[in-house]
Amino acid sequence: MIRIGLSKLATTSLVFLTCSLWVSAQESTAEFDPPRTEWGDPDFRGHYLPGQYRPLEIAADENWQPSTEGSGGNNAAFSRFFEPDPDAPPRPARLTAPMIVDPPDGKIPFQPWAAEQRNEIMVRQDELEHLDPRVKCLPSALPRAHLPVGYNTYQILQLPGYIVMLYEWNHLYRYIPLDGSPHVSPDIRLGMGDSRGRWEGNTLVIDVTNFTENTWPVGHGAPPEGAPGGALTTGHGVFHSGDLHVIERFTFVDANTISYRATIEDPNVFTEPWTIEFDALRRAPDGHMLFEYACHEGNGRGISLMTGTDLETIRLGER
C-alpha cells in the first residue's frame, strides 16, 4: 500500500514537471518507479505514440553530416497521398545515435552470404517475392512493430496474468501471457511470433519465438532529413529464418516514456546476437484512439504499380 501511494505521488509530480524536465528526465539514470495496477504489476495501460525516427545502423566509414534543419514530424512520403499524420514519429533535427547499441560498431552482424542476400533483396524490390513484407501488408513481426513509422500508434491493455498490445498499423495484436507457460509447438508459425512475458523488477521482459519466415525483423521510416544516404540505413532488406528469437524489454523511463530494448538472435543469418535500444513509446494525449488501418484492402493498385502483379484477380478457396 505504501508503495502504491508513493508511486502515485511520483507520477503526479512527474506529470506536473514533464515539460521542464523533459531533457534531464531522459538522461537521468535513476530508475523510475511506475504506477501499479490494482493487482500490483507495473501499469503499462494506455495509448502510446511511436518514438523518434533514428537511424538503425551506422556505416562506420561514412562521415556524419548533421542536417541543418528538421521537419515538423510528418512523414513527407505519406503526406503526399494522405492528410498529414498528427501522430507521426518526430524527426530529429540532426543525426542521432543509432538504435543498435550492440555490437558497439552499430552495424548488423550479418554472415557474409546474408549481407549479399540483403543487397539482392533491396535491388529486387520491384518483384513481389522480394518486396518489403510490410508493403505487402504482412505482419510487422518484431521488433519492427515497435520501430517508428507513420500511421502506427499503440494501445496496451492489462489484466491479471497477461498483457495485450494493439497496433494501429494493419490491426495487429499480441497476447502476452505472464504465467510462465512455455512457447507453443515449434510446428506453429505466427506473423507476430509467440510471446511469453515476465517481470524483472519494473521491466516487462518478453521472449518471442515461432516467427514465420516471410517478414523482416526491422525496417522503419525515413532517416533524418538531410542525412547523407550512405551514412546510415533504416534496416530494410534485413531478413531472418524460422529460428529468429527476440527478447524485448519495456521499461518506463518517466511517466510518459517507455524505453524499448530488443535483442535479435538468428544463428542462421547473423554471426552474433545484436541489440537495439531507444525510447519507442510516448504516452498519447488524452482522447487518443486507434483507428482502423485496413492495409491489404486498398493495396491492390499499389502492388500492381510496384510489381506488375494484379492481386485483385486472386481469390481464396472454398472456405
Binding site: E127, L157, V164, H171, G191, M192, E292, E297
Partner: protein
C-alpha cells in the same frame, strides 16, 4: 442475527469509503454503502432477497428501512436519509426497467471487479452462418444449416433481393472475404474461427483469428466519432444489466453478411447484444437496420460457446499471405 447484520452493514460502509464512480446513478453510492452487502450488486440478491425488479414503492421501502423487516435491521436517518432512500429506489427502478427489455437470465458465472459478467476468454460459434445466414442445404465444402435469422426472412427491398441473387450467382469471385478483405460486423463473429475477448473497466476488445481482425469497443460512455467509414465500423458499447450492448455504425458498405451474397449498404446500423447465460455460453443477438436495403429491421440470434481446450491460444489465419503465395505461383514463380 441482527447484530451480525449490523456488523456487516458497518463493514460494508467502511469498505466502500473512498470509491468513486463517475456518472453513476445518484442512488448507487447509497445502495453500495448500505444495501449491497446483503442484497447483492445491482439488487440481484445475496443473503437478503432480490430487489430487481422492484415491486415496492418508495414509501413502502422507506417504512421497511426505518422499522426493519424480518432479518433486516432498522437503518437510521444518519446512515441513510429519506432522500437517500428515494434515490436508492430510483436506482433500483432504473435497473428494473433496463432489465425488462433484455433476455432475462440467471447468470451465475464469474464477474469483473466492476460487477459485469466476465467475458474474458476465447469464444467461437458452432454453426454454418459464415456460409449462409439463411436456412440452407449442404454444398461441396459447405455444411448445411437451419439459419440464424428470426423467421428465416431477410426483408430485402425488391431491387436488393435481385442484387442478392446476383451476388449469390457470383459468390466465388464477388465475396469480399475471398479477397481477404475484413469481413465486417456481424460476419466476423460467426466466421468459423475462434476469437478472444478482453474486458476491462472501459473497453471490451475483441481480437479474431481470422485476418488478425480487431474490434476496440469503448464502454466508457463515449459517442461515435465524426462520420467516417470503416470495414469493421465504429463500435461503442454499454452494459444493460448483464448484457453487453454494442452499437456499430460508420460502415463502408463493402462487406457482406455471409458467403452467400447477403449484403447491406453503408447505412448499416448493427446492434449486438451479448448476454451470457452461463460461464460457457453467450446468447448473441444482432439487430440489423439499413433503410437503403431492407424494408424493416431484422434479427439474427445464435449461441457463442466458450472454448475450454487446454492451453488454447489464437493462431494465425493471415489470408494476405495466401493471396501473395497464389500471386507468386501465377507469376510463374519469380525465383
Amino acid at each position: 442475527m441482527v447484530p451480525r447484520l449490523f456488523f456487516l452493514v458497518l463493514v460494508g460502509l467502511l469498505a466502500v469509503v473512498g470509491t468513486t464512480e463517475a456518472q453513476e446513478h445518484p442512488g448507487l453510492e447509497s445502495y453500495r454503502q448500505v444495501c449491497q452487502l446483503c442484497h447483492g450488486e445491482r439488487g440481484r440478491g445475496d443473503i437478503a432477497p432480490v430487489l430487481v425488479p422492484l415491486g415496492f414503492d418508495a414509501e413502502y421501502v422507506l417504512a421497511v428501512v426505518r422499522e426493519g423487516y424480518g432479518q433486516m435491521p432498522p437503518i437510521s436517518q444518519r446512515e441513510l436519509s429519506d432522500d437517500n432512500v428515494r434515490q436508492v429506489v430510483a436506482y433500483l427502478e432504473s435497473l428494473s426497467s433496463s432489465a425488462s427489455g433484455s433476455a432475462q437470465t440467471e447468470y451465475d458465472g464469474p464477474r469483473t471487479p466492476e460487477g459485469q459478467p466476465d467475458l474474458n476468454g476465447i469464444w467461437q460459434v458452432l454453426n454454418s452462418a459464415a456460409w449462409d445466414i439463411r436456412a440452407h442445404n449442404a454444398q461441396d465444402g459447405v455444411p448445411a444449416g437451419l439459419g440464424v435469422i428470426e423467421d428465416n426472412v431477410i426483408p430485402y427491398q425488391a431491387w436488393a433481393s435481385a442484387q442478392q441473387q446476383e451476388n449469390y450467382a457470383n459468390r466465388f469471385t464477388a465475396d469480399p472475404v475471398r479477397q481477404c478483405f475484413l469481413p465486417g460486423v456481424p460476419r466476423i463473429t460467426y466466421m468459423p474461427f475462434p476469437f478472444r475477448i478482453f474486458q476491462t473497466a472501459d473497453h471490451v476488445v475483441m481480437t479474431y483469428e481470422f485476418a488478425h481482425t480487431v474490434r476496440i469497443i469503448y464502454t466508457d460512455g463515449s459517442a461515435h466519432p465524426l462520420p467516417n467509414d470503416f470495414w469493421m465500423g465504429d463500435s461503442r458499447g454499454h452494459w444493460d444489466g448483464d448484457t453487453l450492448v454494442v452499437d456499430t455504425t460508420h460502415f463502408n458498405g463493402e462487406t457482406w453478411f455471409d458467403a452467400a451474397g447477403n449484403f447491406h449498404s453503408n447505412e448499416l446500423h448493427v446492434v449486438e447484444r451479448y448476454t451470457p447465460t452461463s460461464s460457457y455460453h453467450i446468447d448473441y443477438e444482432v439487430t440489423i437496420e439499413d433503410p437503403e436495403v431492407f424494408t424493416r429491421p431484422w434479427t439474427m440470434r445464435m449461441p457463442l460457446y466458450r472454448r475450454i481446450d487446454e492451453a488454447l491460444q489464437l493462431l494465425d489465419y493471415d489470408c494476405v499471405d495466401f493471396i501473395l503465395e497464389s500471386a507468386n505461383r501465377s507469376d510463374g514463380g519469380v525465383q
